[in-house]
């Protein structure tokens, strides 16, 4: 049937919506599931009300009617009773919505955390610090968040410049990062997988390219990742990488970036100690591949114009050497 075929792309769109890595319709954590329950109730109830209203309008337009008078019909008792019933129905429905919202909201804010992470949002990347009671077990990474399944993580949210918003739709609602304030969000993931978060408060030129790579794994995998992140940077092995390391530490790179275990201690840009173990580059703007890293280094302003990493003039050999070094930072 023609109309059905025309609707196929609509169904395709709807199906795609349910499965995206950044979709709130495919909840993977307690918090996003609580929100999804509210959404299910409201979308069905509101759709019903909507169709009912349109139906009433259609009935009003097409019904057979006696000649209406001009005056005094305002006092029609049946209509007045219907109006009263309608108001009661609306108030009842809204009260129900308020109640389920309140209960779901309470579930978003509780829990004893098993893991504490501090995220400081900057223009236009995420500084992610894994906290620990032992200072030696704290480390800093950037633009990625790994969480163990079935454990509650408390993500503390701060801002280094303007207002940003931390949002991983599959896992929880969003919370703003506001300078001068410390907010927090709780996440208890229930399903392994890769998810994508994105800054959700307009924060300037590259708000569109400020994504967060989130991976949920079982506890063992998470612990081994933590151990790896705690280690200082891998030493370069090949001659090219050695030369790259030397260039990194003596030119502009070290002015902004930190690579733990080397002299590079800049605090302006993201920590690069384990850069090559990440899945994306430049807060999700590019995948972590050699070609993309090379292009990024040559001109960061091309994929992400306005971002704070300048185009450092390098000869192709120097650029290759630095890329070799960086790709070894696993």
């Amino acid at each position: 049937m023609k109309p059905m075929r025309a609707l196929l792309p609509v169904f395709a769109m709807l199906l795609a919506a349910c499965g995206g890595v950044q979709s709130s319709l495919a909840p993977a954590a307690d918090q996003s599931k609580a929100i999804d329950h509210v959404w299910q109730v409201m979308v069905w109830a509101c759709s019903t009300i909507y169709l009912f209203t349109l139906g009433a309008l259609a009935w009003a337009i097409w019904r057979r009617r006696a000649i209406a008078t001009r005056e005094g019909v305002s006092r029609d008792p049946m209509l007045s009773r219907a109006l009263f019933a309608w108001v009661v129905l609306v108030v009842g429905l809204l009260t129900w919505f308020v109640a389920i919202s309140f209960l779901a909201d309470r579930r978003l804010h509780g829990g004893t955390p098993d893991l504490e992470v501090r995220i400081t949002a900057k223009q236009w990347w995420w500084q992610v610090e894994y906290l620990s009671p032992e200072p030696a077990r704290q480390f800093i990474t950037a633009n990625e968040l790994r969480l163990p399944r079935d454990r509650t993580a408390r993500i503390e949210l701060r801002s280094g410049d303007v207002i940003h918003s931390f949002w991983v739709p599959s896992l929880s609602g969003k919370e703003d990062l506001i300078p001068g304030y410390t907010n927090a969000v709780f996440i208890t993931p229930r399903r392994d997988g890769s998810f994508r978060g994105q800054c959700a408060e307009f924060c300037g030129l590259q708000h569109a390219h400020m994504a967060l790579d989130v991976q949920v794994t079982d506890e063992a995998t998470f612990r081994s990742w933590v151990s790896q992140q705690l280690r200082p940077a891998s030493s370069p092995v090949t001659a090219s990488a050695l030369r790259g390391a030397e260039l990194f530490n003596t030119t502009a790179c070290a002015s902004c970036h930190t690579v733990r275990g080397t002299p590079a201690g800049g605090r302006v840009g993201p920590d690069l100690t384990h850069l090559a173990s990440r899945r994306t580059l430049a807060a999700g703007a590019l995948p972590m591949r050699r070609d993309d890293l090379s292009k990024w280094l040559d001109d960061p302003q091309h994929p992400k114009p306005g971002n704070l990493m300048p185009a450092v003039p390098l000869s192709p050999d120097d650029s290759n050497a630095i890329v070799d070094y960086l790709m070894g930072l696993k």
């Binding site: 502009a252 302006v268 306005g306 300048p310 185009a311």
Partner: protein, 174 residues
């Protein structure tokens, strides 16, 4: 009217790429020089940077990021000279400031060439010009979103760049 409009356009432009390396001038740093006089005017590059609000603001960002505060304070000076006054040992126009930043200077000013890009050096120079009130009020940022440590840059009096360092002008003690 048109000139006003064009200057306004230039003030507000956000440029993310800089001129190619090697196009910056070699300004004169002192009146005392042999042979023919070196260039005294300010280069076009320099003028473009100090008239642009975006570049001045970026300069304020690098000032904090690269710890210029460590020696120069917030402009009032500490172990390094003040940048908000009218005493310029190596000259106070933007080309001269740029040269000081990239070349370094005796007694503690590091040479930043290679450690920061040329565009960042120009942006820092533009900001130093703003600290001494030498940029247009429309282009200067008033305050940072941080602890206040200077008067608003839009309210600074313009510091002259004619004089050299006061200590260099005093006669030696008898």
């Amino acid at each position: 009217m048109a000139a006003l409009a064009m200057s306004a356009c230039e003030r507000e432009r956000r440029a993310f790429h800089s001129a190619p390396e090697g196009t910056h001038p070699r300004p004169a740093l002192t009146d005392f020089q042999p042979g023919s006089a070196m260039t005294q005017g300010v280069s076009d590059t320099g003028l473009a940077y100090e008239r642009n609000a975006y570049h001045i603001n970026q300069g304020s960002r690098w000032y904090r990021a690269f710890n210029c505060n460590g020696c120069h304070g917030n402009g009032g000076g500490s172990i390094g000279p003040a940048l908000m006054d009218d005493q310029w040992r190596y000259g106070g126009n933007i080309d001269q400031i740029h040269a000081s930043i990239v070349d370094g200077r005796p007694n503690g000013m590091p040479a930043w060439r290679g450690k920061i890009t040329d565009m960042q050096a120009w942006q820092l120079s533009a900001y130093v010009r703003a600290l001494s009130g030498n940029v247009s009020k429309a282009a200067a940022p008033s305050r940072r979103d941080a602890i206040t440590s200077t008067p608003p840059l839009t309210q600074l009096p313009r510091q002259s760049t004619d004089a050299g360092d006061a200590s260099a002008q005093q006669p030696p003690p008898q």
